[in-house]
Symmetry: C2
Amino acid sequence: MPNFSFGSTQGRAQPVVVEQARFHSMCDACESREASVCAALDEHDLHRLAAAAVVIEADPGRTFITEGDAADNFYNLTRGTVKLYKLLPDGRRQITGFAHRGDFLGLAVSRNYAFSAEAIDRVRYCRFSRRGLRTLLDDFPVMEKRLLDVASNELVAAQEQMLLLGRKTAKERLASFLLAQEMRKTPCVHSDQPLSLSMTRGDIADYLGLTIETVSRTFTRLKNDGLIAIFHTDHIVILDRDGLIRLADGYTLDH
Amino acid sequence: MPNFSFGSTQGRAQPVVVEQARFHSMCDACESREASVCAALDEHDLHRLAAAAVVIEADPGRTFITEGDAADNFYNLTRGTVKLYKLLPDGRRQITGFAHRGDFLGLAVSRNYAFSAEAIDRVRYCRFSRRGLRTLLDDFPVMEKRLLDVASNELVAAQEQMLLLGRKTAKERLASFLLAQEMRKTPCVHSDQPLSLSMTRGDIADYLGLTIETVSRTFTRLKNDGLIAIFHTDHIVILDRDGLIRLADGYTLDH
DNA sequence: CGAGCAATTGAGACAAGTCAAAGCTGGTGG
DNA sequence: CCACCAGCTTTGACTTGTCTCAATTGCTCG
């Protein structure tokens, strides 16, 4: 599911500008074109789109959008995984989502980003100026439709996450998370391949509204219940998908 | 802030169709036109919009959108307040938001509503068919832009709510809620008028991811702290706005 | 005036948090 | 090649904020 969010290109050291994406061929051969909003454009329109973009790479841990900063740019992720989060003054953190190849970041009506974005692994993205986006959307209404669809899906996902954060138990949260991860990796197809998690226990905890310790203990409980198997902490095999689904959907009254 | 959400026109007894909104004057004189997406349209376009709408009234407690039902219609609320929620099989409920005059409901990419909607007080809304919306948006790109803006704002609000549900204490949640309610009622202006809450303690609890008892106790604690005064359970006066803001923003380490 | 519902308050239980210690893993350099 | 360090994860013991259960109060309306 594409991500659509809000969140300055600043950090300890600047991310690396890889290329000016001013050639038609740039977007034409983009590794994530089908996955992104750019899929809505035909060859000719891609040319104009490319003229407005700068391709940038960022190392793991790099924060390239900071909550509260002026929302001057928006981003289209073409490679890697990014975590989006909000902070409270005392350091409490809530990860509001993970963005992947094809996802759109930084769209905001307000003058400032409402969240921060940090690369989890090595990341590549296209950067557009806010003004650039506006004229682009005016010229290509089809992209606007696409953005609306993406935003609608994001809203559905956000509501689901509110249900999780407000009403589900730790076990239910982790079950929901694992199923969502698997669904994202291989939609529909149920492979027996282990699911590899790119995020740490801390990230999972901050995404599910739990602590690291509770996430760890809950992994162990799911393992002991025979629902999953764990290899090397970040490779998970789902042993009982139906059981996990029942758990995630809140059917369990027993523990 | 306008609401933009997802959630069949069904319930125990059907809501009352008040009028076919087929006359130009209908939307022209609409009590919530400025507040809604319709504000984007000029006189001429309003004519076409009205042709597609049915005006309906519903009593308090009426559920007019049910999660999981086919998403055949979408709605524009013109009067009253609506709660939007998701349920787990055992009855646990999460209210994902409250919709007010001017808010848009039911926009969904998926075939089914992702949430239910229930009238809190007497409600009036315009109902459009899904197909109607599609052709409308095709004809009036300006409305699509408007919807995108609304959806963007909703997403920002949803992220804020995730922070609240995942990381804030009961006191912080209620403080955030009260400030948001006041902000919605009188944006910017800080009146000394008591804030009147249209929802029950149960609704507030299900919105904040708490129980009725905790909400009640937390109201009492805020009162004892001198932050608010409570009249008649549903009329609140904010006595110390700055204190409440600090609390809501998570600055408090003491209690 | 009593039925019914919402809200409050109290007492005790429990799920998840906190604090602390130890295990595991991967990288680095002697 | 191995020892050591640093960071992540797991596990244990204990605490606590919120939930659950239950009783009481207060309000509204017939």
